[in-house]
């Protein structure tokens, strides 16, 4: 996998994902970067193996009547790079508040009760 030189913008995106902002548009909202730079950064980070992406559970999304979203998470390989980025850009950790809502975890469907007998 090609290694990536971490710039300020990719560093912010990495930090945003680490802070819990997992959706593309959320990262756009919170990072303060120009909107057009976020997705390219996400793609670069993913190609470099520092981020990985998954799709939401389809059934869950359809139940809510919306298309499933794609969300990103930091990989094992990404963790040391994150540290490196935090050391380089000291203010990064404070820029992004750690109050992001957690990504939706699929809740187990309750067993169908056969009613009281």
């Amino acid at each position: 996998m090609p290694s990536i030189r971490l710039t300020y913008s990719t560093g912010i995106v990495l930090q945003a994902v680490a802070a819990g902002y997992r959706y593309g548009f959320d990262i756009m909202d919170v990072s303060g970067l120009p909107d057009g730079t976020v997705y390219p950064a996400l793609r670069r980070l993913e190609r470099s193996g520092l981020l990985e992406s998954t799709w939401e559970d389809q059934d869950l999304a359809h139940a809510e009547g919306r298309p499933p979203r794609r969300y990103y998470g930091i990989t094992q390989a990404g963790l040391p790079r994150l540290e490196e980025v935090r050391n380089r850009f000291r203010g990064l950790a404070h820029l992004i508040p750690r109050t992001a809502p957690p990504p939706p975890t699929p809740t187990p469907t309750p067993p169908i009760s056969l009613g009281d007998q």
Binding site: Y23, G24, F25, G36, Y39, P67, R70
Partner: protein, 886 residues
């Protein structure tokens, strides 16, 4: 909007991209953005999707390019190296899959390269490598083969103008005396300028100076490096110490540089000669002369100088007219003079080994071609799948280089062993034998040879392969029809191999016959059950004159003869068959020697009176020497038949008299007996006229010229080897200060004289054998291959009713066809080269008919053996299988 934008996104990722953007926009819209700003932001982001799509497309294209670059082969070192490793891995794998082929190929190469490296090393060490003197071409031997007298050498020193230095030298040996015994060591005796001639001086201490070869000043010695290390541990305080050589003290003045060639094998020291007019053998001819040409002087100029000097000697000193004429008095570079005799044998060996290598290379080429053809299908598939022809060719070349490298490594290992083995069987008299090594140049040569062999052997099959490789796939057949050129090439290879094998076989055959002839030479003696050894007592024995010498040896002879198992013991000046000795002219009673008559040397063999019986010589007429022949009785001699033929061809020589220059030329010697010729000078040398004189009468002369050495012969009633130890002890008890020299049976002495031709014969036969085996393997391979190619045709023929024997004959005819061309070619080649081998032959013509016929028969047998297996398998072809085999 995203749907439209997605058209701009890269095709492979379009769906995912579109889904992601759609979902994000949807999710944001659901949150019902409250104010206008938020909605505008969403709209802006939606429109941004177009930009992102285009951007994504660009990123994707970059990514594609990057991947393509890492996959394609770029002209960069990294890629060539990885290709090479791939080739090597592939080559090794495919070789491992066909172990039979790989083994035969590797051994073929090992044989060819091993033998070439070995012989090249030996020939290089002995013949080509220049001697380690500065300007070695300026060091020359003056009239090699003729012995000069010290007086003549002094005259040459004074009268030759084209030499910067002249020296006399003679191979010699001395008893080196230690506290715990004596060893007989070798080392030349030389005149003072010897080291000036060589151009090398002592490494420690100094060399001899002018005047140090005169009486009173010459009790000096220089040690060889190895002897100095061995005996004195390399102690530099040896300079100035005294050592005992032949019971006389000599001061060590210097140590020679390591490895210096002082013109004698295994020399431990160098002593000065005695070149004073007062010394007893000042006028006897017994030293060799070497010289260093003055700078800028050519050999021709030196020769001219020499002739002028000799001409003046004829006038001033009465030398005969024929002395020193253009034909005999030559000046030869020392290296050439030393290696003269061995040069032709060495060249013969080089030729043989080159032929063997050619056979090996042809064999390898055939093997590789065979293999490449059977892999046609595989190569065609690779070609169809896009492998470039150059790549396939490189692949084949790599494969054959791997084989050549493996075979070469094995061959070099083989040669390390065989150099040692061959040095062991070469005669000890071989010049420069102690300098034979496997050196770096030879290894480089072998490596180059390996590479060239690999590439040559791989190139032709590879090139041949390329064209059909692609057509065969398209034509749908298995490539079963071989192109005419390929067939011709392979046939040509096999025929060449057979022809070369024939040449080697003929060479080996005539050498074998010659060697047998040598072995059957009538020596004139009965050498079985005879033990021999030499003694060279120190000079003080001579203080008692002739009587002292004779007494000394009588003690030894009595001690040996008294041993159990010993029938009789006698002595002779120089052992028979070993060459050496002295000769001079005679003056026959009642005859005038016309002036200018060619010189006839009569060889001098002083013996004890029982000698002739002890060695089993055959008396033809008259009587042998006996105890009645004392120093005071009339001088008598027993002569050989050659002498009779020379001087008294038509009369009875018994009772005739002559004066012998060797013994002073005054006293008349009477002939009392005639014996059969003995091959004194060597088995293949014509025996010259020889006189056997009793020691009781000759010892005076020997004593006068200070020759104290004699050789003892003892006839045993048991195996001579079984009494060797008791003889050694008896001699040590009788004359403890005189070391015994070369104690061995007479049969061993005779065998040693044959060591040269024996070595040559053995080696050439080995090469011939190897070539024949290789040729047979090559033939077998070709015939097998052809049978396989003809499977279909043979199947049809059998199906149509052809008999098995017809098929057998058809296949064998092919093999015989190769022989029919190869044999006459080979015989022709052997005939053309017969002159090169004729020098090495004895009593056999190089175009010996018996040999030619035998070789033809051998070849015929070999061809039959090589073709019989494939012929039989062809006969057994099952038509059903063969017709289906496509």
């Amino acid at each position: 909007m995203v749907a439209i934008a997605s058209r701009l996104a890269p095709r492979d990722h379009r769906r995912a991209w579109s889904a992601e953007w759609t979902a994000e926009i949807d999710a944001t819209w659901r949150r019902r953005p409250a104010d206008l700003r938020a909605r505008l932001r969403l709209l802006r982001r939606a429109m941004l999707s177009f930009v992102d799509a285009v951007r994504f497309r660009w990123e994707d294209r970059q990514e594609q390019r990057r991947i393509q670059r890492s996959v394609q082969s770029l002209p960069g070192k990294r890629n060539m190296l990885s290709d090479l490793f791939d080739d090597i891995r592939y080559g090794v794998r495919s070789l491992v899959r066909t172990p039979g082929f790989a083994l035969v190929a590797v051994f073929t190469i090992a044989l060819g390269i091993g033998s070439t490296t070995t012989i090249f090393s030996i020939v290089d060490s002995i013949v080509w490598r220049p001697m380690s003197y500065p300007d070695p071409d300026n060091v020359v031997a003056v009239w090699p083969g003729r012995s000069f007298s010290p007086r003549e050498v002094v005259r040459l020193e004074n009268e030759l103008s084209t030499f910067s230095s002249i020296a006399a030298y003679v191979e010699d040996g001395q008893a080196y005396i230690r506290e715990d015994g004596a060893d007989y060591l070798f080392g030349p005796s030389v005149s003072a300028q010897f080291f000036d001639v060589l151009g090398r001086q002592a490494a420690l201490g100094r060399s001899f100076r002018k005047g140090e070869d005169k009486i009173g000043a010459n009790d000096l010695a220089m040690l060889s490096h190895d002897f100095w290390q061995r005996e004195f541990g390399g102690d530099s305080s040896i300079i100035g110490r005294r050592i005992l050589l032949d019971k006389q003290a000599h001061t060590v003045i210097g140590v020679m540089p390591r490895g210096l060639d002082v013109l004698q094998r295994d020399a431990s020291f160098v002593k000065p000669l005695t070149m004073s007019p007062e010394s007893p053998n000042y006028t006897g001819n017994w030293v060799n002369v070497v010289g260093r040409l003055a700078p800028g002087v050519t050999i021709e100029q030196a020769r001219e100088d020499l002739r002028i000097v000799f001409d003046s000697w004829k006038e001033r000193f009465g030398y005969s007219e024929t002395f020193g004429n253009a034909a005999t008095a030559t000046i030869t570079p020392i290296h050439k003079a030393i290696t003269e005799n061995i040069r032709s044998s060495m060249m013969l060996l080089m030729g043989a080994v080159v032929l063997t290598l050619l056979v090996a290379t042809s064999n390898l080429a055939n093997l590789l071609l065979n293999r490449a053809v059977t892999r046609e299908q595989e190569l065609a598939v690779r070609g169809a799948l896009g492998a470039r022809p150059a790549r396939i060719l490189r692949q084949l070349l790599t494969e054959s280089t791997i084989i050549a490298a493996a075979g070469g490594a094995l061959g070099v290992g083989l040669s390390i062993w065989s150099v040692r083995a061959i040095v062991a069987i070469l005669p000890e008299s071989t010049p420069r034998l102690e300098y034979v090594t496997l050196d770096g140049r030879v290894l480089l040569f072998s490596f180059a040879l390996v590479l060239i062999t690999g590439w040559l052997a791989g190139l032709f099959p590879g090139l041949q392969m390329l064209r059909p490789a692609f057509t065969s796939l398209h034509s749908g057949t298995r490539g079963s029809s071989e192109s005419k050129t390929r067939r011709a090439f392979r046939s040509g290879l096999v025929v060449t191999e057979l022809a070369l094998s024939v040449v080697l076989l003929v060479g080996s055959g005539v050498l074998l016959r010659s060697f047998r002839a040598m072995n059957e030479v009538e020596t004139g003696m009965q050498p079985e059950s005879v033990l021999t050894f030499g003694l060279s007592p120190t000079g003080d024995i001579n203080a008692g004159g002739a009587a002292g010498l004779n007494q000394y040896y009588d003690r030894v002879l009595n001690a040996v003869a008294a041993l159990p198992g010993v029938q009789s013991a006698d002595a002779i000046h120089v052992l028979p068959v070993s060459g050496g000795g002295w000769n001079s002219g005679i003056n026959v009673d009642g005859r005038e020697t016309p002036p200018g008559a060619p010189y006839v040397g009569v060889w001098w063999r002083p013996v004890t009176d029982g000698y002739l019986e002890t060695v089993g010589m055959h008396l033809v007429a008259g009587r042998t020497l006996d105890a009645s022949d004392t120093e005071s009785s009339p001088w008598v001699t027993v002569i050989n038949q050659a002498m009779v033929r020379q001087f008294w061809p038509n009369e009875n020589p018994i009772g005739q008299r002559f004066q012998y220059n060797m013994e002073g030329g005054q006293i008349w010697i009477t002939v009392v007996g005639i014996v059969q010729d003995v091959t004194h000078l060597g088995l293949t040398t014509t025996t010259p006229p020889t006189v056997y004189r009793p020691f009781s009468q000759s010892a005076a002369r020997l004593s006068q010229i200070n020759v104290t050495s004699r050789w003892i012969v003892a006839r045993t009633t048991v195996d001579p080897r079984s009494v060797m130890e008791s003889v050694r002890q008896a001699v040590a008890a009788t004359v403890p200060e005189t070391p015994i020299i070369n104690l061995r049976p007479m049969s061993a002495v005779i065998q040693r004289s044959l060591a040269d031709p024996r070595a040559l014969t053995i080696l050439l036969t080995l090469f011939a054998g190897a070539a024949v085996v290789l040729g047979a393997v090559g033939l077998y391979g070709v015939v097998t291959y052809t049978v396989r190619q003809r499977t279909r045709e043979l199947g049809i023929r059998i199906a149509l009713g052809a008999k098995g024997s017809d098929v057998l004959h058809s296949v064998m005819r092919q093999g015989l066809a190769y022989a029919a061309i190869g044999l006459p070619l080979g015989l022709l080649g052997a005939w053309a080269g017969s002159r090169t081998i004729s020098q090495a032959l004895f009593n056999v013509s190089p175009t010996d008919v018996v040999t030619y016929v035998s070789v033809s028969i051998v070849l015929f047998v070999v061809v039959v053996l090589a073709t019989i297996a494939p012929a039989v398998s062809a006969k057994r072809t099952d038509p059903m299988i063969s017709l289906r085999a496509e």
